[in-house]
Amino acid sequence: MSISLSHLTKRYGADTVVDDVTVEIPESSLTAVLGPSGSGKSTLLKLIAGLESPDEGRVVIEGDDVTDVDPRYRDIGFCFQHYAPFRHMNVARNIGFGLRVRKQPKDVIDAKVAELIELVRLDGKAKSYPAQLSGGERQRMALARALAIEPRVLLLDEPFGALDALVRTELRQWVKELHRQIKVTTILVTHDQDEAMEVADQLLIMHEGRIEQAGEPTELYERPATDFVHGFLGPTTMFKGVSVRPHDLELVPASEGAIEGTVQSIMELGFEVQVTVALSDGTAPWVQMSRNEFRNLHVEIGSLVSIRERD
């Protein structure tokens, strides 16, 4: 169910947090809104949910203009950054909240809750209280609670932000898999480009309230429209006066016809090795390579090498 935003603008006093955003979010996509903190991405999400109201512009979901519709009636599942659990309710009651509000019969609620508990793998936790759950479990409970109302759109605000690295990776994969199963149009907000690249099929890069670029992850990575997108989506280094990806550079034994320099520093990060080379023009680009490549190169700090762009 597609979402289209047109000229959406939100100001807080003199600050324009969301600035004339016009974008189409395709139906059944898993879109990541990516940007540094303060870029307006969370506000954009709240504008879609109706938790904030825009100063200008429209929000259209599946052809319905919902700009002036109360969040209660938008049928949007929203997961908050800190999960916003109802702490005095157990897991089952948390998940069933939206259904009780909608005055569903008890057996319908019970069945739906049981189904969701299984879906988000919280079996055996139905009677637990949020305080007794781990961060990842709380996150999944919040997700189930949002899904219970069978929302037209699922909005996730920094869904993995508060989790430790291991759980985060696991949950990312799980969300991706979940989305593949239920196909509800999902927008997630993140400041982590790896996360965005890994999970999403659509990216929306935000910077200072504006959309810098929207499209598929690979497309954005390979053909960034602006310097900001280029810089934000992956590592960069300056070579011959332009910004390039360090893995697009390579080192070869010092030879004629190539730019020469001396190895300034070597950082071994497991599989990846980063080598910084000081050039005669005063710049010091760094090159990203695999461990094997590095071994075959036989260099150490002070070695003379040539640097060039990979073919």
């Binding site: 109706g50 599942g77 929203f78 908050f80 109802f86 702490r87 005095h88 909240f97 509000v101």
Partner: protein, 306 residues
Amino acid sequence: MDTPAKRPSSELGAPPARKGWRRFSSRARSSLGLYGGTSLIVGYLSIIVLIPIAAVAAHGFSFSIHTQGWGAAFWHWHLSTGFATFWNDITQPAAISAIRLSLWLSLSVAAINAVMGVAIAWVLVRDKFPGKWFLEAFIDLPFALPTIVVGVVLLFLYGTASPLKIDLFETWMGLMLALLFVTLPFSVRAVQPVLESLDGESEAAAKSLGAGGIRTFVWVVLPSLWPAVLGGFGLAFARAIGEFGSISLIAGGLGRTTTASNYIYNLTQGFLWTNAAAVSTALLVLSLLILIATNVFARRIQRRLA
């Protein structure tokens, strides 16, 4: 969960003979950061709170020698007959009706102010309006005003010569008005910080799930306020049951508006020290039971939330 044996401090060498003391003191250190902190606090509490209350209770049970003041009566203990006297003192019809009046007045006042306290705290925390800072300061004023002044003012406003034509002299409503006034700050201040600490995300979540304002308040906000509301209820109740100054004047001299505190005061005016102590003790026990009940209840809720 860690046992004393696991703590590195217990490996370091104080003599084993003082094990009992060390176990005690290490527990104290964990909360106060100094040896004997607990005993210090217990000592302080004893001097300030426990000893006076124990003295009142002990006096209430002592054999009645009515005429020679606290000192003389205090030392004449005959515990075998003490309880019978005590029971006799507190089951006087006048004593029972005074205690009954105090109890239901204090409970209702605490309940009414629990509701109003939430409402006022809500307005103070969530709303913006001109003069808010003034109201904010105004709330605590009943704390500062000598209660006898409250009594005089209420007598002037709602006495027989009421300029507002509202005569509440010698009525329970007059008493209630006085108690509502002096207990309000407790109810508001207990709830306010908790309301301030709510980040609004849960409410937004409820809203996005389709809940309206009232349902969000009752289903989501109120449950997290319960422990604080109960805490405020307990404090307001305790304050109300012990209140004397503000109600002593508007109560007049009728039996049906004589509260426990009033009754006790009347007893002391007749030098009936032991009777006064006995009724005080009964009042203390009842208050303690109610305070324990609210505390237990609040803790039980709190444990779930934490």
